[in-house]
């Protein structure tokens, strides 16, 4: 596609349920990021995939959070046993190979845990 695509755009879930958020990066982009944006907290880094290298998971806030990237393309962020503090906008970004290149962002998934 022309840009980074995220689905769903909005998700309301009950506390304790599991959710899956999907990201479709720009075709050919080797790097993919997940961030969490909460009011006043900026963009909190969650996880970074680069090609076939082991992902940098240093930003995942707890073991309830996990992500995978299949075939070097689509990525899924899974949050298990959701809590109210997980409510935020989850942003995905991708960039071509090379650390000098900028990241392109999707529109995000707004997650509300009730």
């Amino acid at each position: 596609g022309a840009g980074v695509s995220q689905s769903p755009s909005n998700k309301v879930t009950e506390k304790g349920k599991d959710v899956e958020l999907r990201c479709d990066p720009i075709s050919g982009h080797t790097a993919l990021y997940w961030y969490r944006q909460s009011l006043g907290q900026g963009l909190e880094f969650l996880i970074y995939f680069q090609g076939n290298s082991a992902p940098d998971k240093s930003g995942l806030p707890s073991d309830r959070f996990s992500a995978e990237r299949t075939g070097g393309s689509v990525s899924t962020l899974t949050i298990q046993r959701t809590q109210q503090e997980d409510s935020a906008v989850y942003l995905c970004a991708s960039n071509p190979f090379g650390s000098y290149t900028e990241a392109f962002f999707g529109q995000g998934t707004r997650l509300t845990v009730v």
Partner: protein, 115 residues
């Protein structure tokens, strides 16, 4: 570990006034620096980036930023702002460290341009 500090969470200014949004970074390695803008209810888009070469970088919508290695700063400036510049601005740094080249963002500066 690399990090980014945006010194002002909110900056109110009047239309046609100059503005500077401050950004300091910490990293023990060579870095690439970026400014992104997020307009209300929209996604993030790139304003400008510093990779190497001239320390003064020009971006879209009349914005520019200056890389200062000795002060580890990358402040964003515009000589005359418009109402339409009202948005949140994020500074970001990427550097190779610990086998990762992750892109790290600051907490953002909300710029409000008043008539």
């Amino acid at each position: 570990a690399q990090s980014v500090t945006q010194l002002d969470s909110q900056v109110p200014v009047f239309e046609e006034a100059p503005v500077e949004l401050r950004c300091n970074y910490s990293s023990s390695v060579s870095v690439y620096l970026f400014w992104y803008v997020q307009y209300p209810n929209q996604g993030l888009q790139l304003l400008l980036k510093y990779l190497s070469g001239s320390t003064l970088v020009k971006g879209i919508n009349g914005f520019e930023a200056e890389f200062n290695k000795s002060q580890t700063s990358f402040h964003l400036r515009k000589p005359s702002v418009h109402i339409s510049d009202t948005a949140e601005y994020f500074c970001a740094v990427r550097g190779y460290q610990g086998g990762s080249e992750k892109l790290v963002f600051g907490k953002g500066t909300k710029l409000t341009v008043n008539p």
